[in-house]
């Protein structure tokens, strides 16, 4: 079918105003927050599930590839069309359909923005705990497809842990509902979890039913400074294996602390590592008791200084510092790759050492911070993309970091997904039989390979 013929058929489904082949639009939809690029042939904005179904039927009939996209905040190239085709922008399906307080759950369309959902829940003193950094912009559909995490995943888990069910449009246009409205459910294969984290390769997630949770009445933050990575690592290990259950456990290395200090104009005590813990709970007394114990554990591991933020403002100030880590580091070089290689928590100190060695070997700057409590580090590889040699070294360093994570029993991605960025390294982590099982599942659901091809494993 000619391009204009396809354009017409799609316009019949969604309306002409919801289809574009303008080159400016195609260019702006060729990128996400990763380094990947891929130009779609046509951008389509569906408004409801039946339109998505019609689009998929048409694409399947014509064997045209379809790449679903939420807000495009992805850090691994998930929404990048590798083979042109249709780019399916899901952001106009943005209605909160149901807030079911009695059953502590919500039903939302995929294009609802995380922050909008949580704003709607706040009056009921409820929240959806996984909190990706892109929460002001990212959509729930994108979070499901990528299985996003965030700072509080250490206590509350990732999106996978909050999903009860999904509405999914399959590559042939059929609409299925997975899961159940119940908290428990073992009725057949867990299709919900199959689609979560499938990065838009198996189906288009159009609705999600999610558990929600009572908002903790108070949160306090503690910062602990250390003069060696080893003692920071030990202190974190002690806190994580105690019964204190922090709602966040973050680490910033010396380079990061220095960059943040300069960037935010904040003074920090001299240190090699800064650990930030958050504790939440239903009463201030109880949270303070846990924080006192955590303080003791850090001091026992030779923390040079421990500060507790007594007020919300102080806590916010520390969180702003932590959240500015990425941008603060980005001021050191114009380009950066944000990785999320994750290792078992006990291997964190080794992983930090390995990252340092990689930085030296390739002569690139790799400051590191991240969700140390769940082993999810964010080494930031800094370079100038206009300098070809440096770009090459940065890429080589990235590969070595992946290798290190796998050797330490970890995984390529904690929360950003494999997408395009890590597809070449997929076989480093997964054996051929494993990948073959995935291929077979993909082939059973999408025999024509029209849905988001080229992602997750090389040659997909």
């Amino acid at each position: 079918m000619s391009e204009s013929g396809l354009n017409k058929r799609l316009a019949q489904i969604v309306g002409a105003e919801n289809v574009s082949t303008e080159s400016v639009d195609l260019l702006c939809y060729s990128r996400d927050a990763s380094e990947n690029v891929g130009m779609p042939d046509i951008v389509v904005w569906p408004n409801n599930t039946s339109q998505v179904s019609e689009i998929m039927k048409l694409a399947n009939e014509l064997k045209i590839t379809v790449t679903p996209r939420g807000a495009g905040t992805c850090l691994s190239g998930g929404p990048i069309p590798t083979k042109g085709g249709i780019l399916l922008v899901m952001t106009r399906m943005n209605k909160i359909l149901e807030i079911d307080i009695a059953n502590l759950q919500v039903l939302v369309e995929c294009g609802v923005v995380w922050q909008d959902l949580n704003n709607a829940l706040t009056p009921y003193k409820l929240f959806l705990p996984p909190d990706p950094a892109s929460k002001d912009a990212c959509t729930i559909g994108g979070c499901m497809a990528e299985c996003s995490g965030g700072v509080r995943a250490v206590k509350y888990g990732t999106f996978r842990d909050w999903a009860l069910g999904l509405q999914v449009v399959l590559p042939n246009g059929e609409i299925i509902e997975t899961g159940a409205k119940t908290r428990k459910g073992v009725s057949g294969y867990d299709l919900t979890r199959l689609f979560i984290g499938s990065e838009g390769t198996l189906g288009v997630i159009t609705r999600a039913r999610l558990r929600i949770f009572p908002l903790p009445r108070c949160r306090l933050v503690m910062s602990a400074y250390f003069d060696s990575m080893e003692s920071a690592g030990k202190a974190i290990f002690r806190v994580m294996t105690s019964d204190l259950i922090p709602s966040a456990a973050e680490l910033m290395d010396k380079q990061t602390v220095e960059a943040v200090s300069k960037f935010m104009n904040m003074k920090f005590p001299e240190c090699i590592a800064l650990a930030i813990f958050e504790f939440d709970g239903s009463s201030l007394g109880e949270v303070k008791r846990r924080i006192r114990q955590a303080r003791k554990l850090c001091e026992r591991e030779k923390a040079t200084r421990v500060d507790v933020s007594e007020t919300v403002e102080e806590s916010d100030r520390l969180w702003r510092a932590r959240k500015s880590a990425g941008p603060a580091l980005a001021t050191l070089k114009p380009s950066s790759m944000h990785e999320d290689a994750t290792v078992p928590t006990s291997r964190i100190p080794e992983m930090l050492t390995r990252i340092e060695q990689v930085a030296q070997k390739h002569n690139v700057l790799i400051p590191t911070f991240g969700h140390v409590g769940d082993g999810n580090l964010h080494p930031i590889i800094l370079y100038d993309e206009r300098n070809q040699d440096e770009k090459k070294r940065a890429k080589a360093a990235t590969a070595d970091i992946f290798r290190a994570a796998i050797e330490l029993g970890g995984t390529l991605s904690g929360e950003h997904g494999i997408g395009l960025s890590k597809a070449p390294f997929f076989s480093m982590e997964h054996s051929s039989p494993e990948t073959e099982v995935m291929r077979k599942i993909k082939n059973a659901i999408d025999p024509n390979n029209i849905l988001n091809p080229g992602k997750i494993w090389a040659g997909a």
Partner: protein, 374 residues
């Protein structure tokens, strides 16, 4: 043909790592819901122009001009990219290469050159709103601005009343006042601004002025930040009227005595708020009015939502401006305020129109409500 930016701004473009956090802020994106019309899309287009991968077609130029330079994207940008500085310089570069401005903006420049105002109305009509028909020497100069002069004369009368009540000796340029050039500065037509800057500055000097008071944040920005770049010697203190009135109230020179029993909400103009962090002075002034109650909209101060008019958007993309304006007025209506007050004649004009269109609350400039309380 690509564009070339100075190194310090080119780096800003490369520092944008397309995280997309600005989607939640950009007022144009909120209306269009299309990446190419948002802050991230503009940065992608600019990078492609720099690298020579695309031409500045009319579709590209439209996207780069459909931005009110409100700086909302900058408040959410984790990399603190100076987007509005980049956009202004890109527009200038496009004009240099004769690929811009848009027709509407070119026509504004022609009108300013012909009649000294962006509406192309007769130069002599400026006079009608002035007490100062013959400019005299004084330390304080009241820079009236084109919107109050031609579109909202009640602002001019209000300012005159306030200055008289406070016993401020001042002068004004009368029919000799020329448009400050703000709209041309924002649309990349810098050489014309330079001419206007030279002519206006010459007159300021002739009158022995030391302090210039502006009502319009656009004039404020242009005189304070841009003029010093274009004239060698610009020894004037530029003050915005909200700051000026606040100082008069604090020093006791101005007293507001009349009850104004209204519940009002305040709209922060982008060129005053996010550009200069002037958030509290207009609020202090409002709270000095007896009987007045101030309620805030959810988007206030640094998070204020643009009215949609600035940066040349109202002239060239009136449909976008109108939608943004109506959405801001809907937010204002939700506060149940009787009146929206702002301290920018252009926001005032635009939001008043949007309010009428959607049959929502009325809109006043800060000076108008202060004059009522005298």
């Amino acid at each position: 043909m690509g564009i070339k930016l100075p190194e310090e701004l080119e780096i800003e473009v490369y520092r944008c790592f397309r995280c997309g956090y600005c989607r939640a802020q950009c007022p144009v994106f909120k209306v269009k819901q299309n990446e190419s019309w948002g802050a991230r899309g503009r940065m992608i287009l600019i990078k492609s122009l720099i690298e020579g991968n695309i031409d500045a077609t009319s579709a590209v130029v439209d996207r780069l001009y459909c931005c009110s330079l409100c700086k909302a994207c900058e408040t959410s940008c984790p990399a603190l990219v100076r987007t509005s500085d980049v956009y202004e310089r890109v527009r200038e570069s496009l004009v240099e290469q004769k690929q811009a401005p848009l027709d509407k903006h070119r026509s504004i420049a022609e009108k300013i050159l012909a009649e000294g105002n962006p509406f192309g109305l007769p130069r002599a009509e400026r006079l009608s709103s002035y007490q100062h028909k013959n400019p005299s020497s004084a330390e304080v100069l009241y820079f009236v601005g084109c919107v109050p002069s031609y579109r909202r004369p009640s602002i001019v009368r209000s300012v005159e009343k306030i200055l008289a009540a406070a016993g401020v000796e001042y002068t004004a340029l009368g029919a000799q006042e020329l448009c400050c050039g703000s709209v041309l500065m924002r649309t990349g037509q810098t050489p014309t601004v330079k001419k206007l800057a030279q002519q206006n500055t010459k007159r300021f000097k002739e009158l022995g002025v030391k302090k210039i008071v502006t009502v319009c944040p656009g004039c404020y920005l242009t005189l304070k930040v841009d003029y010093p770049k274009f004239v060698e010697d610009f020894p004037f203190e530029v003050v915005h009227i909200s700051d000026f009135i606040n100082q008069l109230l604090q020093s006791g020179k101005l007293k507001l005595t009349k009850q104004v029993g209204l519940k009002v909400t305040f709209h922060d103009p982008c060129h005053l708020g996010r550009r200069f962090n002037i958030y509290e002075p207009p609020r202090n002034v409002l709270l000095s009015i007896p009987g007045l109650k101030l309620v805030e909209m959810p988007h206030n101060r640094e998070n204020s939502q643009c009215c949609g008019a600035g940066g040349g958007v109202r002239a060239a993309f009136s449909d976008v401006t109108s939608k943004i304006g109506v959405s801001r007025m809907e937010e204002a209506a939700q506060t149940k305020a009787d009146l929206l007050v702002t301290s920018c004649p252009f926001c005032c004009l635009n939001l008043d129109e949007a309010g009428r269109q959607a049959q929502l609350l009325p809109v006043s400039d800060l000076t108008e409500i202060v004059a009522e309380a005298l």
